[in-house]
């Protein structure tokens, strides 16, 4: 083996469309002249995904995520650049590529609208050459894992969004593809449904060793599932690496949040390597502190100043009734990157 599951190099996709005119006689004018605009949805993206990885492919709306996935799946032909999936060029070797991948687009079902869910599964089994005993085993397994029993015989058009998504996931995994693409699989689902889908994806990755590329705007999905993330915007890769490292690199600080025993308003002494951050916070319940208790944070860079040292210094200096060490949440990290458009080197 040794070859990566996915290798993309300098991937570019441009879309060209005619300009729609407005104003008087717009229709007539667009008859005689032809103006076109070109958008670069993906602009030189390169990355590799190893077998068994679970990668989060993230970026703001319109970043080019779905467009990339469509090139990886063979739906779109790249404008330039190369892409290889399991050693094949998806759009050239489309049929064989399709047998080795599972794809779920959260926005658009691939099930047969007018047929019961079960019929869609049977069709998939037949189209991929899954024999009967294997099909029965797979269906049994996924029915249990995703709790499909109740609506297996309901026509797809009668399924709720969450039920449909579970159906789509099953259809994508029935034939055991070693690679699974998920483009917003949790969009519009309730908490329970999201949790179920996350569990399923985690298990598929852990037990079956399925390589997963996941696109989502739900950062809980990312935190629960992805060790590695790829961040893109305007069609370019902003960051590729460990989720923890991203956090460390982009917001290299940690907060020691303490609830002070006394309510004095005076300036606080910050031990070396820390700064005081005073934001409105309330004391945690069950600590015995009054509602009016003063809660402050000491911000420090754990790479420079070890956490125990900060705790020791702060508790030596102040009388505290409660303390907590927090990492900045991912939401803030991502929001910061999206709005600044760059990752700090």
């Amino acid at each position: 083996m040794g070859q990566p599951m996915i290798r993309a190099e300098g991937l570019v996709k441009e879309f060209t469309r005619p300009v729609r005119r407005t104003g008087p006689l717009a229709g007539l004018r667009s008859l005689v002249t032809r103006e076109r605009v070109t958008t670069r949805a993906v602009d030189g993206v390169s990355f590799t995904v190893e077998r068994g990885e679970l990668v989060g492919y993230l970026g703001p709306n319109g970043a080019g995520k779905s467009t990339t996935i469509k090139m990886l799946t063979g739906v779109l032909v790249p404008t330039s650049g190369t892409v290889e999936v399991d050693g094949r060029v998806p759009w050239k070797d489309r049929t064989r590529n399709a047998r080795g991948i599972g794809v779920v687009f959260g926005q658009r079902t691939q099930l047969w609208h007018d047929l019961p869910l079960r019929d869609s599964f049977e069709l998939v089994a037949k189209l991929y050459g899954l024999d009967r005993p294997d099909y029965e085993r797979a269906l049994g397994r996924f029915t249990e894992l995703l709790d499909l029993g109740e609506f297996l015989d309901t026509p797809v058009r009668g399924l709720s969004l969450g039920q449909r998504m579970r159906g789509d996931l099953t259809a994508a995994m029935l034939y055991g593809p070693p690679l699974l693409y998920l483009d917003e699989p949790t969009v519009g689902l309730d908490v329970v449904a999201k949790a179920r889908i996350r569990e399923f994806v985690a298990e598929t990755n852990a037990v079956d060793g399925t390589t997963v590329v996941l696109t989502t705007h739900d950062l809980v999905d990312v935190e629960r599932l992805c060790r590695r993330v790829l961040l893109i915007d305007h069609g370019e890769v902003l960051y590729d690496g460990d989720l923890a490292a991203l956090r460390r690199r982009y917001v290299p600080y940690r907060d020691l949040v303490v609830t002070l025993a006394r309510e004095d308003d005076g300036p606080l002494v910050a031990p070396p390597g820390t700064t005081v951050v005073e934001e409105p916070r309330t004391a945690r319940a069950g600590t015995g502190a009054s509602d009016a208790a003063r809660v402050v944070a000491f911000r420090f860079d754990p790479a420079q100043t070890p956490t125990p040292a900060v705790v020791a210094a702060v508790t030596a200096e102040h009388e505290v009734v409660d303390l907590d060490v927090t990492d900045p949440d991912l939401e803030a990290v991502i929001a910061e990157i999206y709005s600044s458009g760059r990752v700090r080197a």
Binding site: R20, A26, G27, S30, L31
Partner: protein, 269 residues
């Protein structure tokens, strides 16, 4: 909402229909070429049919050719016998939104159809010019008065066509499977209106039957007026029959519409 504001809203809907009919360049070009080609082919066929024949059923060659041209143009400009937006909106369940608008649904649908019809006018003018150029068409019989009668009759014919379309589209409130019924309607209307072949050529029994249907008031009557086939008394009678159909169909549409509305309200769409 004042009636002036309603008129403004309806005009906007109509203009939107014109715009969307002209939105895609290739579609505009294709529909223009299509009607021109059809006119040429129809002329060729009818000239061939009349080769070596002077008159059949009291109709001479030039009249038959010109009739066929106008029949093709009418079919195109009326854009009748086509699926209306109403039926589609009922199927897509968007009717509830339409009902919330301050303008009645029936005027909305009619405004849309009028808009689509208006969008067809330029290409049909081209078709008429082409027919004149190849000598397949002549001015209407009876001078200015004849022209006036033709215009009136055409307007009534359009009204009959729009109302018939509306009635057929409203069946969508009762059954979602109207596709087949619409095709039957289109076929029957196209033949029975005289758009394909004038009623003059039809066997007596068939013509007798068709004269009792509203379809001949859509195309055959205006074209008969154009060719001066109707004398004074007959002309007045023909126009009266058209007007009668407009009234009858409008009343029927009103009745069906109130039933449909009742259905929507009771069943929640």
């Amino acid at each position: 909402m004042t009636s002036a504001a309603q008129v403004v809203a309806l005009v906007a809907i109509g203009r939107q229909a014109v715009r969307s009919a002209l939105a895609v360049r290739s579609e505009v070009l294709v529909s223009a070429v299509a009607v021109l080609v059809r006119v040429v082919l129809v002329v060729l066929v009818w000239r061939a049919v009349y080769a070596g024949v002077d008159e059949v059923s009291g109709v001479d060659g030039p009249t038959a050719v010109a009739y066929a041209v106008l029949g093709a143009v009418f079919t195109n400009v009326l854009n009748p016998f086509w699926r209306s937006s109403l039926e589609m909106r009922v199927r897509q369940g968007r009717i509830a939104v339409d009902l919330l608008r301050p303008v009645g649904l029936v005027p909305q649908t009619l405004a849309q159809q009028v808009g689509t019809t208006a969008a067809a006018v330029p290409r049909c003018v081209l078709a008429v010019l082409l027919a004149l150029a190849i000598g397949a068409l002549r001015a209407p019989a009876g001078g200015a008065l004849g022209l006036l009668a033709f215009v009136v009759s055409t307007a009534l014919g359009i009204a009959v066509a729009l109302l018939c379309n509306l009635l057929v589209a409203m069946t969508a409130f009762w059954t979602l499977e109207v596709g087949g019924a619409l095709m039957v309607y289109r076929a029957v209307a196209q033949f029975a209106s005289g758009a394909l072949i004038p009623l003059w050529f039809m066997p007596g029994w068939l013509r007798g039957t068709l004269e009792h249907l509203p379809f001949q008031a859509q195309v055959f009557t205006p074209l008969s007026v154009y060719f001066g086939a109707l004398g004074g008394g007959d002309l007045a009678a023909a126009l009266a029959v058209q007007a009668l159909w407009v009234v009858l169909l409008a009343l029927l549409a009103q009745l069906v519409w109130s039933r449909a509305l009742h259905r929507v309200v009771v069943q929640g769409g």
